[in-house]
């Protein structure tokens, strides 16, 4: 038989194509024969004995050790085989897409205990009975946000919040007190700033992105009225608050550009600003840099009707309504996020700095037992706010654009927000169906 170069190349191409198909069929040519099972799952992925199999999804937490901890929690649960799925990337989009398929996770985290879409489309199991009277043990601001039409669809896992950091020593050196109103904050920021240290920093967009909705709460109003039929903040007090922040920016008291964003402690640690709006998660890095010379406060009241405000966020453990083992999933959620208090404290306190969702557990969290951490925990209960469940993306986008135009471009707030009245009304009508 004559073997030509062409036939050898042809055979080589055929082999390559076959290898390609094998690679596709095998899904993962590098996979071990048993696959990558979490400690809580048997090697075959099948249930052992009478136990059912559950999958539990988490978004990716940045702190080292959280993944291992939740896998351990799952492994310790004896009534079911729980497989933990750690989901990096855009968790909300991935979860939303997965919930539309037949292969839904049995238990999963959802921001603020589930979105309106998830609830309305029946994707979330009603957990009102599951939490029962235990709901009184949880942070009341969080439970208020987690309750929609008298139903609860998520059990709060842990609480994150934003707050204002400052250095007491810098204030003392400048001869100013800790501010309690926005006017005092403006005066203090301008008093403490030097040629090398700015006054107030809340992001490289001048703070309008992260502080936008705070202006509503700090000026004494809510986003929507009680019936959720129209906006509840479009008035002179809110407009004056925006103008006050615009004047603050123009005065030079607001740092417009720093080495890092507001959610990182770096700008504050580098002493680029005397006040920085940030996350509670930055507290360990900030106290490491400045020791006891760290103070925290809520965003101060703006105007006569104003009040201090901090935004919070909490992931809630939800159960997929069309999961294969709904009752088993609910039992697991109850066991982990209602009964297992030691694990709840560990989840919040051992790897990062978060606030346990149950009030009684806050004192057991070492990082929150005293000092700035302890004060921060109180802010959520006393002054905590979160976006209303019907504050949709469309409303948020228009609102942010209007805030930006007022503060950055000097637009008249009343004229700028006038179109939002009808837009919010129609959007709410649409959402209510």
């Amino acid at each position: 038989m004559n073997i030509s170069r062409r036939s050898i190349l042809g055979m080589g191409g055929g082999l390559a194509a076959a290898a390609t198909l094998v690679a596709c069929g095998q899904n993962n040519p590098m996979a071990s024969p048993t696959g990558a099972a979490s400690p809580a799952t048997s090697e075959t992925g099948m249930a052992t004995g009478e136990k059912v199999d559950l999958t539990q999804w988490y978004h990716e937490y940045g702190e080292a050790g959280v993944k291992e901890a939740v896998e351990r929690f799952a492994a310790e649960y004896e009534a079911a085989n729980v497989t933990v799925k750690w989901t990096p990337g855009d968790y909300n989009s991935i979860l939303a897409a997965q919930l539309l398929t037949a292969e839904v996770p049995d238990v999963f985290e959802a921001e603020q205990g589930g979105s309106l879409d998830q609830i309305r489309s029946g994707q979330l199991e009603d957990l009102t009975e599951l939490i029962g009277d235990a709901k009184d043990q949880f942070n009341k601001s969080v439970m208020k946000r987690f309750t929609f039409e008298d139903k609860i669809h998520g059990i709060p896992q842990t609480i994150d919040m934003q707050l204002l950091y400052y250095r007491p020593s810098l204030l003392k050196a400048a001869g100013v007190e800790v501010p309690t109103t926005f006017e005092e904050l403006v005066a203090a920021a301008n008093a403490v700033k030097t040629s090398s240290t700015g006054g107030f920093f809340a992001g490289n967009d001048g703070g309008i992105g992260v502080l936008g909705t705070l202006f509503i709460w700090a000026s004494g109003y809510e986003q929507l009225n009680d019936d959720r039929t129209e906006a509840a903040f479009l008035n002179d007090d809110f407009y004056k608050a925006l103008v006050a922040y615009r004047d603050f920016s123009k005065s030079g008291g607001v740092v417009q550009s720093a080495s890092a964003e507001w959610y990182s402690p770096d700008a504050f640690v580098n002493e680029e600003a005397a006040f920085q709006w940030g996350g509670l998660w930055s507290l360990p890095d900030i106290t490491k840099a400045f020791g006891d010379d760290v103070g925290v406060m809520a965003f101060p009241a703006m105007g006569a009707k104003g009040r201090p405000a901090v935004p919070f966020g909490a992931f809630g453990a939800c159960v997929a309504a069309k999961g294969k083992n709904v009752e088993a999933a609910k039992d697991f959620v109850k066991w982990l996020w209602i009964d297992q208090e030691d694990k709840q404290v560990e989840f919040s306190d051992a790897y990062g700095t978060h606030i346990p969702a149950k009030d009684a557990l806050v004192s057991k969290a070492t990082k929150l037992s005293s000092g700035p951490g302890s004060e921060a925990a109180k802010f959520v209960a006393d002054s905590g706010f979160a976006n209303d469940i019907m504050w949709s993306g469309a409303i948020g986008d228009k609102f942010n654009a209007a805030v930006s135009n007022v503060i950055k471009n000097g637009a008249d707030p009343a004229a700028e927000f006038e179109p939002l009245k009808d837009l919010i009304k129609s959007e709410l009508e649409k959402l209510k169906g």
Binding site: G25, N27, A36, Y61, S93, A97, T101, A267, E272
Partner: protein, 274 residues
């Protein structure tokens, strides 16, 4: 003469300045890859790295939860399969659309062009649901097959084949070829330039893909772009490892560019992309 030299010099100076400006982001990647977090987030700008050793690289490679090497392999498998498959499908489709001119062919061309006008974001969810129904989540099939048909590549090939001399194909048919063998023995060997150009564009796009792999690629098939996103969490960004990872990810495409830049430029010129 002196005046001409002067303006030539000015042009060179302007071009060098522009080149340096465009190179600046790449320098920042290199600087940050060999810097501590303190240097990267320093209040004052530092031009030079402060950790000229392999610390960040060893930290990155030792991080099992990121699995950068495995992710690189996954990306390479996906990019090669996607490129090979897309070029094969689009090459044949483009040839057919160029050679067959009856009504059905024109209709198919219209449908093909129409898919270019539909925003990708709108078809992501239905595409994901179909992929999930087929059980292809976290598989290479799921990563590659839904993206195998590229209207863009098909249209490029079609435009190329419109100008390809039909006489060559006619001659091969006279010599005993059928249309299939004429395509592979005559047309394809004379179209390697456009194949390389389109292949290079598809390869780079596939290597850099993020959205679809972030939905489909889970534990077993996570690609390197998705793996790197793990350094950006709600609790902050781990800059040194992120930039070291970015440097590693950029390297294969730089090699591709160095070897195939002629075809890349040809592809961009043909397609009108900038």
């Amino acid at each position: 003469m002196t005046r001409q030299r002067f303006w030539l010099g000015v042009r060179y100076v302007v071009l060098v300045i522009l080149a340096l400006l465009f190179m600046l982001p790449f320098w920042v990647i290199v600087r940050n890859a060999f810097s501590t977090n303190k240097n990267i987030t320093s209040a004052t700008w530092n031009w030079l790295p402060d950790q000229l050793n392999l610390t960040n690289l060893t930290t990155l490679l030792a991080n099992d939860s990121i699995g950068i090497l495995r992710a690189l392999l996954n990306s390479a498998i996906m990019a090669v399969l996607q490129t090979g498959g897309t070029v094969f499908v689009s090459l044949l489709a483009g040839y057919a659309l160029a050679r067959f001119t009856h009504r059905a062919s024109r209709f198919m061309l219209g449908v093909t062009l129409f898919t270019l006008m539909v925003p990708v974001a709108t078809i992501f969810v239905p595409m994901f649901i179909i992929t999930a129904q087929l059980g292809w989540v976290d598989t290479f099939r799921g990563l590659v097959i839904p993206g195998l048909f590229s209207a863009f590549a098909t249209y490029l090939f079609r435009q190329y084949f419109l100008d390809f001399p039909v006489e060559l194909e006619d001659a091969s048919l006279v010599d005993g070829c059928n249309p299939w063998s004429a395509f592979w023995r005559v047309v394809f060997p004379n179209s390697k330039g456009i194949v390389a150009a389109v292949g290079t564009i598809i390869l780079i796009g596939s290597w850099n893909a993020f959205l679809w792999p972030s939905l489909i690629g889970r534990d077993a098939t996570r690609t390197v772009q998705v793996a790197l996103s793990q350094f950006m969490t709600s609790q902050g960004v781990r800059y040194p490892e992120l930039f070291m990872g970015s440097l590693i990810v950029v390297a294969p495409m730089l090699v591709v560019f160095l070897f195939l830049q002629r075809y890349l430029v040809q592809g961009l010129t043909t397609s009108g992309l900038r």
